[in-house]
Structures are given as C-alpha cells and as structure tokens.
C-alpha cells in the first residue's frame, strides 16, 4: 500500500487535506518517514471521527429533547387532539386544557417586540457604524451590548415599577383618548397596566441589543469600496447607506432579527411579570394575555395531576415546534435574500 493512495482515497473529506502532505513527498521519503505519516494518518482519522461525533451530539440532543417532550405531552395531545391548539379553556381543576391563548400571546408579544426594536436597532447600528464619531462609538456600542447582560428578572422588576405605571397613567390614555386610537380594537378597553403591550415593550428592549449588535458588525464588514463607489457616483450619505451599504448587509441584518426573535419567543421571566397571565385572546393590546413560556413557568412547579403535567409538556412541545418553524422560515428568508442580492451584484 502506498502512502499516496491514502490521500486520494480520503480526498472526499476536506478536513484531511491540509494535514496530509502532498502526494509527491511521501513517495520520495524513506520508510521511517512512512511510519511517521502512518501515525499522522491515524491521529488525523481519530481527530476527524471524534469531531464528527461531537458535531452529531447536537442534532442527537435536539432530537432526544423533542422526543422526550413529545412523549411526556402525548397523553394531553391524544386526549384533546387538534382542539389543544384551538381551545381557550385552561382549567386545571376540571382537567380541560387548550393552548390557543398562550400560542397567540407568544406570537403577538414577539411580533410587537420585533416591530418596535427592528427599526430602532438598525438605526442604532447605522449610527454607530456610519455616523458616530470615534469617541462615541465604543461607549454607546458597549452600553447597547450591556442591555443583553441585564438579567430578565431585573427587566421584569423595572417593568412592574417603572414601565407599567407610565403605561397606565400616560401612554395608554394618550393612545386611547388623546390620539383617539380607541376606535381601533387594538387600543380599546380599560388600561390596567399589565398587558400584551407591556410584555411586547419589555421584549423589544430585551431583543434590541441582539439585533443591533449583529447589524453593527455586519455593517462594519461592508467593504469601503462599496461606500466609495456610491459616493463617487455622486450619492449623498443617505443614498450611499440606503442604496449601497444596507442591501449588502441585508442578509446579515435579517440574521440578527432572527436571533432577536428566538429570544423573544422563549423569554419567560420578564414577560410573566408584565403580561397579566390571563389565558384569553383579546384584540386589544391593553388587555392581559399569556405566553407559552410563562404558562409553563407559572404552573409546572405546582402541577400535580398527570394530565395537567402532560398538558404543560405538550405546551412545551408546541413552543418547540413553533420556534423551529419560525426559525426555518427565517432561514429560508435569509437564504432568499442573500441569493437575490448575490444575483443582483453578479
């Protein structure tokens, strides 16, 4: 067996290539060199197999988690069937469970969060990458990133003691009465404070650093030539950013938004403290609601009935699936966008 045969056989694995010497060298080398290379080949294979197994651990873990949650939630899913997703009843005393309000609340609160934080975060990112003077850039970027380091229970407390009183006494009456938005179903009804709006607002603050941080890095990575070309064509600064920089960075920015969305869907503590925890579907953003994560967090520790536990696990499974779907759709979106922009520039 020649040594040259080894690399050609294993050429399919790109990992092997840089480590192995080129085919010509071993042919020229002596036998003792061959022994050393044989050792290198084994080490190399051990390395690549081990790495592969490590990488496989992650999908296997995901599948096991999904399977475990599904098995635990199966009794509830079997008993309630599809109505588990559409029913609004959540009555642990009589054993009737439906997750519709929690699913609705999770999606709506995340949507509010993204609607508010995406433009804000991209604005912050553009300012920091394009406009901010050097002395301001680092401190502001650091403080924005620091928002991600604040524990969510602290956000919750801040929400209870600062955000909610402001919402109840100022923002909600202003929206409803002063702006007469009360005619819309979204801004109608009594303003108690804890509400879908409060949860969405706190989430928007919590996801802002994720979106802004990723967007900033992406914008900074846009080549100078891209900007200079636009400026050379006589574009204003605004036109340069809008027409040359942002399209280039689009897929990366969407990636940041997805990261924020993932955080918003799963956030538990701060939302539980602010959303009012009422399993109902209401068009009004002033009304309390519920999310899947807060439902599980609230009831799991004291749930003693088998069906109740199973229903909570089923909610966990639904949350898992929805997160998966949302992420898949978002990935697809990024893929579409990046393919589109690549096609345009080509």
């Amino acid at each position: 067996m020649t040594h040259a045969a080894v690399p050609s056989e294993r050429a399919g694995s790109p990992l092997d290539r840089p480590v192995l010497p080129s085919g010509a060298e071993p042919a020229r080398g002596a036998r003792r060199l061959g022994v050393r290379i044989q050792g290198a080949v084994i080490g190399d294979r051990v390395y690549s197999t081990a790495i592969t197994l490590f990488a496989l651990c992650v999908p296997v873990l995901m599948i096991l988690i999904a399977l475990e949650i599904f098995i635990a939630g199966w009794p509830a899913l079997r008993q309630f069937g599809f109505s588990f997703l559409t029913s609004s009843a959540w009555d642990p005393v009589n054993g009737a469970f439906g997750a519709a309000p929690a699913i609705y609340g999770t999606l709506v609160s995340s949507a509010i969060a993204l609607a508010i934080s995406t433009p804000l975060a991209i604005g912050v990112a553009i300012f920091l990458s394009e406009f901010a003077p050097q002395w301001l850039r680092q401190p502001v970027a650091f403080l924005v990133d620091l928002l991600a380091a604040v524990p969510s229970v602290v956000y919750g407390l801040w929400g209870i003691f600062v955000l909610i009183p402001i919402l109840r006494t100022a923002v909600m009456p202003f929206l409803r009465d002063t702006l007469h938005l009360g005619v819309l179903p979204f801004f109608s009804g009594p303003a108690y404070g804890p509400s879908m709006l409060a949860a969405g607002l706190i989430l928007s603050v919590m996801v802002l650093p994720y979106i802004s941080s990723v967007s900033r890095e992406v914008l900074l990575a846009v080549p100078r030539s891209q900007r200079e070309a636009a400026l050379a064509l006589g574009a204003t600064k605004w036109e340069t950013i809008w027409g040359a920089v942002l399209p280039y960075a689009k897929s990366g920015i969407i990636g940041g938004v997805i990261l924020g969305l993932g955080r918003a869907l799963g956030e538990t503590m701060a939302v539980t403290m602010l959303i009012g925890n009422r399993p109902q579907i209401s068009a009004s953003l002033f009304a309390p609601g519920y999310t899947m994560a807060s439902l599980i967090a609230n009831e799991f520790s004291e749930a003693s009935g088998d069906l109740h536990l199973s229903a909570l696990m089923a909610v966990g499974f639904v949350l898992f699936v929805i997160t998966l779907i949302v992420n898949a759709v978002a990935r697809w979106l990024v893929w579409q966008v990046s393919r589109g922009s690549a096609g345009k520039s080509a």
């Binding site: 081990a50 642990p92 009012g276 520790s301």
Partner: protein, 368 residues
Amino acid sequence: MQRRHPSALATLICSALVVALVAAACGGSGDQKTASGAPNAGSASGGADLTGAGATFPYPIYSKWFADYAAKTGVKINYQSIGSGGGIRQLTEGTVDFGASDAPMTDAELAKTKGPVLHVPTVLGAVVITYNVPGVTQPIRLDGDAVADMFLGKIAKWNDPRIAKLNPGVKLPATDVLIVHRSDGSGTTYIFSDYLAAVSPTWAKAPGRGKELQWPVGMGGKGNEGVAGQVKQTPGAIGYVELAYAKQNNMPYATLKNASGAFVAPTIESVTAAAAGVAAALPPNTDFRVSVVNAPGADAYPISSFTYLLINRNPADAVKGKKLLDFVKWALSDGEQSAASLDYSPLPAAIVTRLSARIDSLSAGPTS
C-alpha cells in the same frame, strides 16, 4: 490492504475513547446535579441525615427549625422548597424522606404512594384580602358572599350596595373592581379557593378548589410580590396574599365575617383560633386532612389553613424513620414556640396533644 483494518479499528477505538472521556467529564457534572435532588444523596447534600422537599410557604420556619434542631441534636435535614406539587411527586417516587404541602394530598394522590402517608400539621397560615381603594383608610369589612361575587365578577364597583351595607359610614368610591390573583400554582390559591368554595355554592361548581384555577375575571401576578405590586399600583384592585407577606409589607387587609357572624382581622391568634374551632370536632382516628377555612368560633379568622409534613408511615429505612419522628416531636413541642416570631400561627394545644399521641404510637411500632 490488510494493514488498513487495524488502523481503521484503531481509529474507531481512539475516537470512542476521546468521546467517552468528554462524555464522562460532562456526565460527572450531570451526576452531581441529579444527586443533589436524590434521596440517598448523603454526600452531595453536605452530609444531611434526612432530605425533604415541598411547600415554599413554610420554608422560613422550617429552615429555622432545621437549623435549631441541627444545633441541638446534630441531625442535619436538607429541605428543598420546590413547591407542594413537587414535594408530593418526590414523596410518591420515594426520592425524599419526607414531603411538605400546603394542601392535603387527595385520595387519588395517596393511592399512588408506596405506603400509607401521615399528614402532620406543623403550623398554620392565613390568606388575607388586600386592596387598593382610594380614600378609604380604615380596614374594609367583607363577608364570604361579597368576596366570592367580587372574584366571580358579579360585583364590579367598589360602591356596590352589598359592600356599602357591610361598611356603614365608609365613603366607597365608584371605582371598578380589578381582581388580581396568583398566576403561579400556589398553596395560597388553594386555601383561598377552598374558602370561596366553602362559602359560595356557585364558586364550588366553577372554578372550584385548586392550586391553579380558571379565573372568571382579573389578571395574574407571579408570586405574593407580583400580586402585591399589582394591587399597590392599581386603584380599585383587590387580591390575596399570605398573612406573613402582608404584615411584613404593611399592606392593608380586610376584616372578614366568619362563620359565627363576627368580623375578624387576620392575626396570629385568630388563625390559631380557627384551628382550635375545628379541632374540637375531629374524630378520634382523624388523618388530619381537614380544612380549617370558615371554621366555627367567634375569634376564628375564616381563611386559615394547616401546612403539612408528609411522612411515610412505613419507611424503608427504619433508622431514618425514627430520626424523622424524633424531629417531628421536637418541632411540635419546642419548634412551635418560634412560629409566631416568623408570623406563622402555632397549632392549638388540642391538636398538638392529639398529634403527639399519634407520633408516639408510630414510634412504638412502624405498622399502624
């Protein structure tokens, strides 16, 4: 080609070794985590002789008892306040030496345990009705019907004639009543709903009694602090919290009309009085799974409840069983003295006497 086989084998073995090593490293830390919650985790829980898990409500007094008891006898007890539901589950699975719960176990739950379980009441707690009614300074008076109808959404304004009738001379505002309840599963909710079900047939039908309910109206706050924060901030709000929490935070609370028709404020004494009222009527072979809400007696505060230690009557480990019973005896005699200092109501003397007799009979022979 023959030389390739050993190398392929070697590859596989070495890779497996590497992965196994890493897995072992990960597994090691994982084991520690499970061990701390496990039963025979003597080593992991710092050499504890007994482990228990359950209710969060009595945790402050229990941890004081365990510390005092360890100082006196050297017997260490590790208690995890994971919630009553978790305590019952762990006792059922046999992963702890004792459980603790605010609500007594149901017959269905008892049927699943490995052996008979003794409920040992330790202290009493009470739930108070706290409110935020602008312009009202003296404690508001309420009766069971009015409270139930407020939480059912039938009384929507604070100046409702029924509330006004209970509070002559008090100027009640025309504010909307906003219900605030616990969103997390809680023994506090169980006690409160137990009371409402006892005084209102409508409430007994729906939502009924439970640690989590389908509330007809209102919004949920997480924990005592969530409910309290919400009530404090919102004019017109009414909610319920533990007596100890309300006292420590100087919250206003309602005086309630009890079964004897007297208006009683929640105090350490009036809660003990509620248990004394019930104790007189207990049958000789009681399992102590009794509700003390709406108890008879002129001084009894109506939303009172025992909190329980759950003890396996036929413990697998007789030595541990003996240690546990010794602790319970100490708690009933010496431990009760310190209850009031932490805003818990001690058991009435009549209950202590009967419990002690029961514990003594258990100590004598494990099968009773």
